[in-house]
C-alpha cells in the first residue's frame, strides 16, 4: 500500500471504492454486469437453507437415503439436485444422543453454498470463528442451545476442501409428518449445529 504525500489520506467511502474498481473492470471488459446479475439472482432466489432442509427431511424419512448421505454426502445431495461451487465435496455429520456436531470456518467463511446459500454475517464474524473451536459448549449455551455435559461436542473446522452439513436428530412427535412437513421444521442453524430441533 502506497502512503507517500502524493496520495490521499482520507479513505474513500465504500460505495465510491466499489464504483471505482467496478468501472475499471467493466471498461477493460473483465466484468459483464448483466451476466453477473443473473448469477447473483441465482444466489438470491435458488440457494438457501430450504435446500438443506429437503436433504435432512429425506434422510429422516428414508433410512437407505440416510445411509447413502452419511457414506457419500456429495453424491446423495446431488440426487436431490443440489450441487455447485462450495458443494463439490460434501461431508454430512450426524447428531446422536451422545454427539453434537458444530461447523465453523476459522480461517475465512467456507460454507456449503448449494444447500445453505451464502453464510450469515455472524458465521463470518470474528466472535464465532474464534470461539467455536475454543469454548463451543459455552458458546452454544450463550446462543440458547444447552448441550448436556455427557454429550460430546464435535467441532468441524472447514479449513480446506470439505464442506459440512449437520444432520440433526429428528425431534420427537414428528412421526406423522410428511417429508415436506419435516423440511419445514429444519432450520439453517440446526444444519450448522448452533441449534437443536
Amino acid at each position: 500500500m502506497t502512503t507517500d504525500h502524493h496520495h490521499p489520506t482520507e479513505m474513500a467511502p465504500i460505495e465510491a471504492r466499489v464504483a471505482a474498481i467496478e468501472s475499471v473492470l467493466v471498461e477493460k471488459g473483465v466484468l459483464d454486469t448483466d451476466v453477473l446479475d443473473q448469477i447473483v439472482a441465482n444466489f438470491e432466489d435458488n440457494l438457501g437453507p430450504m435446500n438443506g432442509a429437503k436433504v435432512v427431511a429425506r434422510a429422516w424419512s428414508d433410512p437407505e437415503y440416510r445411509e447413502r448421505l452419511l457414506a457419500d454426502g456429495t453424491a446423495a445431495i446431488k440426487e436431490l439436485g443440489f450441487e455447485g461451487p462450495e458443494g463439490e465435496y460434501m461431508v454430512v455429520v450426524e447428531n446422536t444422543p451422545k454427539v453434537h456436531n458444530l461447523v465453523v470456518c476459522t480461517l475465512c467463511s467456507c460454507y456449503p453454498w448449494p444447500i445453505l446459500g451464502l453464510p450469515p454475517k455472524w458465521y463470518k464474524a470474528p466472535a464465532y470463528r474464534s470461539r467455536a473451536v475454543r469454548e463451543p459448549r459455552k458458546l452454544l449455551a450463550e446462543m440458547g442451545t444447552d448441550i448436556e455435559a455427557d454429550v460430546e461436542i464435535r467441532v468441524w473446522d472447514s479449513s480446506a476442501e470439505a464442506r459440512y452439513l449437520v444432520l440433526p436428530m429428528r425431534p420427537d412427535g414428528t412421526d406423522d409428518m410428511s417429508e415436506e412437513q419435516l423440511a419445514g421444521i429444519v432450520t439453517r442453524d440446526a444444519m450448522i449445529g448452533v441449534q437443536r430441533l
Binding site: 500500500m1 482520507e10 464504483a19 466484468l31 480461517l107 455427557d150
Partner: protein, 209 residues
C-alpha cells in the same frame, strides 16, 4: 501467514451477534462487491488460495474493522492491480479518496513440488501438525500447528492451496480430517468432552514425536 484472519482460539471478540435470518445483502454495495468478486473469479480463475490470500494480506486493523464484503472488494481490487488492470493511483482518483489495498504477497513456494495421491496415513493414525508458520497462504490454522491429533477421515487427494496460491500450479496432496482434543489444543483452558476436527493436507503433517 500468521495473520488476523487466522482467528481460531483468539480471545476478546465477545458474544456472537446472532440473527435467525437476514437478507443476503444489507446494502447495495455489498451485492456489487459480491458480484465483482464472482466476476473476477469467473473470468480470471484465481485459485481458491490466491483469492483467500488477497484478503488475508489486508492490513490487520482494516480486516478487523471492516464489514465482510469490504474484504471481497479489497481482495478483488488488489488482484486487479497486481494483474495490471489498474493502478493504485487510478483507483484513488476514481474513488475520490484513498483506496486501501492488501499488502504484497510474501509467499514462497516449497522446493518440492511433487504431487502425491497415495495417502501416507490411515484412519486411527496419530499425527502431529508441523509448526512452520509460512509467510504465504496456508490452510493449516495456527491453533493446530505443533499439536497432536488422530486421523478420523481420509479424503483422497486435492490440489494444495499453499502452492496454487503462489503460482505453483496444481499440486495434488492427500487430505485428512484430523481430530484434536480440546485439552491438546488449549490445555488448562480446554474442556473434556469437546473435540475439534480440522481438514489438513498431508504436507502439513508429520509422525508424532
Amino acid at each position: 501467514m500468521d495473520g488476523v484472519h487466522d482467528l481460531g482460539g483468539l480471545d476478546g471478540f465477545g458474544p456472537v451477534e446472532h440473527t435467525p435470518s437476514e437478507p443476503l445483502f444489507d446494502e447495495d454495495w455489498e451485492r456489487r462487491a459480491f458480484r465483482l468478486m464472482i466476476g473476477w473469479i469467473a473470468t480470471q480463475h484465481p485459485s481458491g488460495g490466491r483469492f483467500r490470500h488477497s484478503i488475508e494480506r489486508m492490513a490487520p486493523e482494516h480486516y478487523l474493522s471492516s464489514p465482510y464484503y469490504e474484504h471481497w472488494l479489497t481482495g478483488a481490487a488488489t488482484m486487479a492491480v497486481e494483474a495490471g488492470f489498474a493502478t493504485q493511483d487510478e483507483l484513488d482518483r476514481r474513488a475520490g479518496g484513498r483506496f486501501p489495498l492488501s499488502a504484497p504477497d510474501r509467499g514462497v513456494l516449497p522446493a518440492d513440488l511433487t504431487p502425491r495421491t497415495t495417502p501416507r496415513y490411515a484412519v486411527g493414525d496419530e499425527v502431529r501438525v508441523r509448526e512452520w508458520h509460512p509467510p504465504g497462504h496456508t490452510r493449516a490454522p495456527r491453533y493446530v500447528q505443533g499439536r497432536r491429533g488422530t486421523v478420523v477421515r481420509v479424503d483422497g487427494a486435492f490440489d494444495i492451496d499453499d502452492i496454487a496460491a503462489h503460482g505453483g500450479g496444481s499440486v495434488a496432496d492427500p487430505l485428512y480430517a484430523v481430530r484434536f482434543t480440546s485439552r491438546e489444543l488449549w490445555d488448562e483452558a480446554g474442556a473434556d468432552g469437546e473435540v475439534v476436527c480440522v481438514n489438513l493436507f498431508e504436507r502439513y503433517l508429520e509422525d508424532p514425536r
